[in-house]
């Protein structure tokens, strides 16, 4: 095994800067009201030397609706930088990150958010809880804890965090600790965050993911509890690759189901909207189908039903998501790495 790793580490492929990201065009119909959502999320990756990486993601999202009195679709185009960070891979146990980074609270915000990755396009209800970008420093890493488990962690200190209204700021510290068991492909972990001002509130969350090796099933779940609210989501996605009927089409098809619940927090119903959260207790069930036309391009369709004291609504979504990857320099042929 040592010789195997030695060969891998001496791989001659030098990384090249990349412009990656995703495009999405969706139609969300909630309670009979149609919302057209078009978004571009470019990701810039610039590796420097053997240990450095500069990475940034911006979001340009237009949400267009037809006015109540009729007329053409119109609406705002939101632009913001999700993260702009410098990473230094200090050693196999530690990576130091400074700049603006995605807050590692739960797993959806950091890993499942891009439209080409997420299994259902509507956001989980609890996504806004403690997931505004953080500005500061972060220490993170993943390493083998023993023969059966890998451990991963992230601790961060943020001096300024831009809230959903773009005017809020705060100081907070937090962390996430997780264990991944490669054998059963099971991941469990927890997150914590504490504000360093006002009432010095704590928030915490738990997450899990499981991908059984024998069937193309992906189960994920998150729970979060904070001053702003609490709730959970549970999601299962199943790739129909084991179907014997229309095998070529079925292996490109994925069915998804998600159940979730949200409870209004201590801030009261009037303040919830400013955090992007529902202002009433809410339950929601979603079902969807994804079809992968080719690598990086998928079509989505989903139906959901929202239940709350404000009424029950149907939610439909349709659209296309695309992931692109463009080298910003000369790239070699696959044989150069051999």
């Amino acid at each position: 095994m040592p010789s195997v790793l030695a060969v891998a580490q001496s791989d001659p492929a030098r990384p090249v800067p990349i412009l990656s990201g995703s495009l999405g065009n969706f139609s969300f119909v909630t309670g009979g009201h149609n919302l057209l959502d078009s978004q571009v999320n470019p990701v810039l990756l610039v590796p420097l030397g053997d240990r450095w990486l500069i990475e940034s993601r911006a979001e340009f999202e237009g949400q267009f609706q037809r006015p109540a009195n009729g007329g053409p679709y119109g609406g705002p185009v939101n632009k913001h930088v999700d993260y702009a960070q410098i990473d230094y891979i200090a050693n196999p146990y530690l990576t130091v990150t400074v700049g603006r980074f995605l807050t590692p609270f739960g797993i959806f915000n950091e890993r499942l958010y891009p439209v080409w990755i997420r299994a259902l396009e509507p956001d989980p209800l609890i996504l806004p809880i403690n997931t505004a970008p953080s500005d500061g420093a972060m220490f993170r890493g993943g390493f083998r804890a023993n023969r059966a488990a890998n451990m991963n962690y992230a601790f961060y200190l943020s001096t300024t965090s831009i809230g959903s209204g773009s005017v809020d700021s705060e100081r907070h510290v937090g962390g996430r600790l997780g264990f991944f068991f490669p054998g059963p492909r099971l991941e469990v972990g927890g997150s914590w965050q504490r504000t360093l001002q006002d009432d010095r509130r704590n928030a915490f969350g738990f997450h899990m993911g499981w991908q059984p090796a024998k069937i193309p099933l992906n189960l994920r779940s998150e729970f979060a509890r904070s001053f702003e609210g609490s709730g959970y989501w549970m999601e299962g996605s199943y790739r129909l690759s084991q179907s014997h009927l229309w095998q070529k089409q079925m292996r490109r098809t994925e069915v998804v189901a998600r159940a979730q619940q949200f409870y209004v927090g201590s801030i009261g119903a009037n303040q919830e909207a400013s955090f992007g959260l529902p202002d009433v207790n809410m339950r929601e069930a979603d079902f969807g189908v994804n079809y992968f036309f080719r690598d990086g391009l998928k079509g989505i369709a989903s139906y959901g039903r929202q239940f709350s004291a404000q009424g029950n609504f149907n939610q439909w979504s349709f659209g296309l998501a695309y992931r692109f990857l463009i080298p910003l320099g000369r790239v070699g042929s696959p044989r150069e790495a051999q």
Binding site: S3, V4, L5, V7, A8, Q9, S10, D11, A13, R14, P15, V16, I18, L45, P47, D50, L53, E55, D87, I89, A90, N91, P92, Y93, L94, T95, E110, R111, L112, W116, I117, F139, G141, G142, F143, R144, N150, N152, Y153, F155, L157, G178, F180, P182, R185, G209, Q211, N218, F292, D295, G296, L325, P327, G329, R330, V331, G332, P334, A337, Q338
Partner: protein
């Protein structure tokens, strides 16, 4: 705050050991025996399916220099281990 500083200091103290390990491995003569390459491919595929499959479907393979950037990005983003990073990169560039 104090806990974070102490934690980061203790991890940074591991840097010399980690750097020495990396330098030693990087200067090793890259002798690839067919069995080693096969073993790496198999392990790389296993690590790829276990780690990358947690979030997204398997992408196509890209040229090695692009894959090197993508895998470094995922090392940070998905906190995969250094060993997984190397084996996945080897598998994805074959």
């Amino acid at each position: 705050m104090l806990i974070i500083l102490l934690f980061s200091a203790s991890l940074l103290s591991l840097r010399s050991a980690g750097a020495a390990e990396s330098n030693r491995d990087a200067s090793a003569v890259p002798v690839v025996h067919p069995n080693d390459a096969d073993s790496m491919r198999i392990q790389g595929e296993q690590r790829f399916r276990a780690n990358c499959g947690r979030c997204h479907a398997a992408p196509h393979k890209f040229p090695p220099r692009m894959m090197a950037t993508v895998v470094r990005h995922m090392r940070v983003r998905a906190t995969i281990t250094a060993e997984d990073q190397r084996l996945i990169l080897f598998y994805m560039t074959q």
